[in-house]
Amino acid sequence: MSGLLLRVSGLVAGYTGPVAGPLSFELQRGEILGLAGPNGAGKSTLLKALWGGVKRFGGQVEQAPGLQIAHQAQGFDDLRGVPLTGRELLGLTGATPEGLPPWLAGRLDLRLDRLSGGQLQFLRLWACLAAPADLILLDEPTNNLDRAGVAYLADWFARAHAGQGIVIVSHDHGLIDKVCTRVVEVGAAA
């Protein structure tokens, strides 16, 4: 598996029972893979199943040895009231502030509850994107981002990420079409 990060074969996943899959794909370093499918197809569930976050009911997931995975989940815990700065948040995941958009880089030493919703969401996303990882899993990364954030994110994807693989779940077809090198359709489990 020299350049291969992930080999997924017939993956079926769910909670108390199977709700998503089967899904099969291979991901090489440098690839950005989009998972597409209708609402309720279980794209987020399958994304979590790639690292064992939900129960696998069938199929196989082979990871490259020592694979480091970063997963940005949907939804956002309420951070209001916690005295944490943006710099401290990035430090938690080991993400570097280098490369942050200028409208956010100058606000890193403010408490998170002093940032706008869009800035906060971008920072949380950046804590995942810029963390040391071989494989980045993104679940609806443009949710709650403002237009500046979406534009900067699309630009970030467009830059070379030869050492990493990225899997994106998004309802934003524009983003998927623009940044993904390949798209895999997800169907509901039988």
Partner: protein, 263 residues
């Protein structure tokens, strides 16, 4: 009214014991609040007081009984993690009910019970001071080591699991450290003073801290300052320490400042 007692060597050991704990408890409270588990502190304190009373009537050292009961509470908290606040409330009621019945029915437990519930710090001795110093020496570096995992568990719950690592042993270690520190504070300062020191300074620090680090400093200083003032006033005006400590801290929390909109 006499403040001369403040300089009496008799009160040095109780004062220093409490001061150490008043610096440590708010730091633990910062992380309990982060995890929305502040009610656990009250459950730990009640369990410790019940354990101390049981130890006393069975001829064991109260400190040991309090610590053991609190360790059991911390382990139960880990096992009942899914039950969340309900588990803490049940533990709290169990310990309170048992403790009060023991005080009502056992002559030996009566005086100790009042000291625990009212907060009479002046009964602490060298054993408490040594235990508090050891607790600070052990728990402070441990908190430094656990800070990142605890913050990650709150803000990025998938971080460790996605990397194939299990964060639960570290979270359990925090539970144990918190349980032991609160138990020690309970048998030294009393139930509600210990709880007030865990709960109130972080409330202020979450509002006023400019960062997590500065929040920790605000919490520790608030705890130590409030404690010292309560100690001086209790001695000077011959009042019970626990209620004064709680009232002073609550007044400090009511000071104007940035509001988070979250209690």
């Amino acid at each position: 009214m006499s403040f001369e007692l403040l300089f009496d060597p008799l009160f040095r050991v109780p004062f220093v014991t409490g001061l150490l704990l008043a610096g440590l408890l708010p730091l633990i409270g910062m992380y309990l609040r982060l995890r929305n588990e502040w009610l656990a502190a009250l459950a730990f304190a009640q369990m410790a007081s019940a354990g101390a009373l049981v130890a006393m009537v069975t001829g064991w050292p109260m400190v040991l009984g309090g610590l053991l009961a609190s360790v059991l509470a911390a382990l139960a908290k880990g096992a009942l993690a899914r039950a969340g606040a309900s588990a803490y409330a049940l533990m709290l009621l169990l310990a309170w009910g048992g403790g009060v019945l023991l005080v009502a029915n056992h002559p030996l437990a009566e005086q100790a019970g009042h000291a625990l519930f009212d907060g009479q710090l002046y009964f602490t001795g060298d054993a408490h001071l040594i235990a508090a110093a050891v607790a600070c020496a052990a728990v402070l570096p441990l908190l430094g080591w656990l800070s990142r995992p605890l913050l990650l568990a709150r803000f990025f719950p998938e971080f460790y699991r996605a990397r194939g690592r299990d964060e639960r042993p570290r979270l359990m270690l925090f539970d144990l450290a918190a349980g032991l520190a609160v138990a020690l504070a309970t048998v030294s300062l009393g139930v509600m003073a210990a709880f007030a020191l865990v709960f109130v300074p972080p409330l202020l620090a979450y509002r006023l801290g400019r960062s997590w680090r500065s929040g920790l400093i605000v919490a520790a200083l608030t705890g130590m300052g409030g404690y010292s003032l309560a100690f001086a006033l209790a001695l000077g005006f011959d009042q019970p320490f626990g209620p004064l400590c709680a009232l002073i801290l609550v007044m400090a929390a009511a000071l104007p400042g940035r509001h988070s909109g979250r209690m």
